[in-house]
Amino acid sequence: MASNNVISVKNVKKVYGKKSHEFVALKNVDLDIKRGESVAIIGKSGSGKSTLMHILALLDSPTRGTVTVNGVESTALKQRRINKIRNREFGFVFQQFFMNSRDTVLNNVMLPLKIAGVRKSERKRRAMQALKIVELTDKVKNKANDLSGGQKQRVCIARALVNSPSVIFADEPTGNLDSVTGKKVEDILMRLNKKGGITLIVVTHDEDLAQKCDRQIYIKDGRIVK
């Protein structure tokens, strides 16, 4: 593949609802994400930025247009293949963390590997590696519930990392954190992008965070405006 794009979106339209209740979330969006770059998608709530992220991450399919991941057009793929791509190629970090709070940090980090069907010993080894990167090896045995917000988000980053993905999607990763812990989370994500070579796609309305990325995409009323 001549293209250096990890994800490429062509002429994508997304419509929710039917007929009179129709709501167009995305209108003819074209976007190429290059391998290794960091991209911020910025917009107000309701602008369509989350929908765009969901389509990029293959969590949602466009009403029209194509999404190509690593040179493979994914819109036409079977659900099974799409699940596999999400599991192998993507990592997710959410604003609300989404952890099993009663389970241990280790088990939370291992979850994507469990889904992938990786052996238990290998799971543990790779999870420990990921936790080392976010500097939480001392919290392995703790229940997720006992961690602070910043620590929780670092566990989530470890979980996103554990599958060695090519892309990490971060949806308002610092939205629930104070500025000091938020800064630490930002630094980890940026370091993964710059040193680890992982493509980073951040959805945010925080201008400061967006400015740290290589490229900023402003979205308004379902269109890329800048």
């Binding site: 699940n83 469990k114 889904i115």
Partner: protein, 432 residues
């Protein structure tokens, strides 16, 4: 995610809400326990009846009544809601009597070796030379020598012996002053009858041919031979008109050995039915007891099944709640690439696990209850019936019951499992 991982996480998910899982398991347990215990009692009782049956003998033996008797019993019973009109040909009181002509008719049927009237016999009391005390006793004339009776000492009465003989139920041995079952054999007892006309009491001597062990077939009666039976009824009915002296309501017949097979016996029963008689084999009589127990078992098993249906609704409810609680987690796992099928399997296995633990608990508690009940029964109401285990489990049946309950649980789990598998990852992650 491998299947083992799915099963493991299904099981550990049950522990997340221990109280709720435990209550659901308890509901399943109640249904399982009921079913296991009822089938256990059925197995125990029928097993004992079969054992008794196999040793009962009675090949080629028939008890014959006029059809009129059967009809009267049916019309007088609760089964009939209407009063029946009298018909002198069918309902006359003497239509129920077995006459000498009846015996002659029965003897003409192919395959019947012998037939005779069977008299109801009763005695006022029994006593012996060793004691002054008198005891009431239930007697029955031994109808055939093909019936095997479990003897603790001596032998069954010789039906055709000239001398009066009695085979004594073992509970009379000590009261009548004998040291042991063995020492009672050959001793003389006295049976008393009251003449229906003069009200005078006559004592008749009889020799103890043997002492019997308790059994279901015997019903605690003591058996006497024809000679003693005749003497008792003669003494009782002396002075009555002739036709009242030799009244019988039942005939007993013994078939030729060639006619012992089930099919041949059925042929003879059919032939007798055409002549206006109703005949029963030993098997028929035991069959009546068995079908009675079967009916009770079926009713109790239905109660168990109803409990299981209620428990299934409990499973559905529990899992729906679990799906709701774990919506975001399901969404997350889907986002991370877990397929629909695996999610469905995970929840189905949670249902199966609930069923499995409920069933296992049911088996374990039923087993303990069986041990305790059998122990108590053997010491109390089944004391006189050695070899009678009230509750018996057939291991294969237990396995089937556990599998059945797991299958029911699986079916109950399909609805919530479907709901979980159909959740949309984005929607689920937004779920509050």
């Amino acid at each position: 995610m491998s299947l083992i991982e799915v099963i493991k996480s299904a099981n550990s998910n049950l522990l997340r809400n221990k109280g709720r899982s435990l209550l659901t398991i308890l509901a399943i347990f109640i249904g399982t326990f009921t079913i296991i215990m009822t089938t256990g009692i059925n197995t125990g009782v029928n097993g004992y009846i079969d054992k008794q049956m196999n040793s009962a003998g009675g090949e080629g033996y028939l008890e014959i009544m006029p059809e009129a008797t059967m009809e009267l019993m049916a019309s007088a019973s609760m089964l009939s809601s209407e009063a029946q009109e009298y018909n002198p040909d069918k309902n006359a009181s003497d239509a129920q009597v077995i006459s000498d002509d009846d015996i002659a008719e029965i003897k003409k049927v192919d395959g019947v070796k012998s037939a005779k009237k069977w008299h109801m016999t009763s005695a006022e009391y029994i006593t012996s030379v060793k004691t002054d005390k008198k005891y009431v006793i239930e007697l029955a004339t031994m109808p055939t020598d093909t019936i095997n009776v479990d003897m603790s000492a001596g032998a069954m009465v010789d039906i055709d012996a000239e001398k009066p003989q009695i085979a004594l139920a073992d509970k009379y041995v000590a009261p009548l002053g004998f040291d042991s079952d063995e020492s009672a054999v050959g001793q003389t007892v006295k049976l008393a009858v009251k003449n229906v006309v003069t009200k005078e009491i006559v004592e008749i001597e009889a020799v103890i041919s043997g002492v019997m062990n308790p059994s279901v077939i015997g019903f605690g009666r003591s058996w006497i031979n024809d000679s003693l039976s005749q003497r008792l009824s003669e003494s009782a009915s002396e002075g009555l008109p002739a036709e009242y002296k030799d009244r019988a309501f039942l005939a007993v017949a013994q078939l030729e050995e060639d006619y012992y097979s089930k099919e041949k016996m059925q042929e003879i029963k059919d032939a007798l039915k055409d002549m206006g008689y109703s005949a029963m084999t030993v098997e028929d009589e035991v069959g009546m007891i068995k079908s009675f127990f079967d009916a009770i078992t079926i009713v109790l098993t239905i109660f168990g099944m109803i409990a299981l249906v209620a428990a299934s609704i409990g499973i559905i409810n529990t899992l729906y709640m679990a799906v709701q609680e774990r919506t975001r987690e399901i969404g997350l796992m889907k986002a991370m690439g877990l397929g629909k099928g695996k999610i469905r399997t995970m929840f189905s296995f949670e249902a199966v696990a609930l069923g499995f633990w409920g069933a296992v608990l049911g088996v374990a508690v039923a087993y303990a209850a069986k041990e305790v009940t059998n122990g108590l029964a053997a010491q109390t109401f089944l004391k006189d019936l050695p070899g009678f285990t009230l509750i018996a489990f057939n291991p294969l049946n237990l396995v089937y019951i556990v599998l059945l309950i797991m299958a029911i649980a699986f079916l109950a789990g399909t609805l919530p499992a479907r709901k979980a598998s159909k959740l949309d990852p984005i929607e689920s992650l937004r779920y509050e």
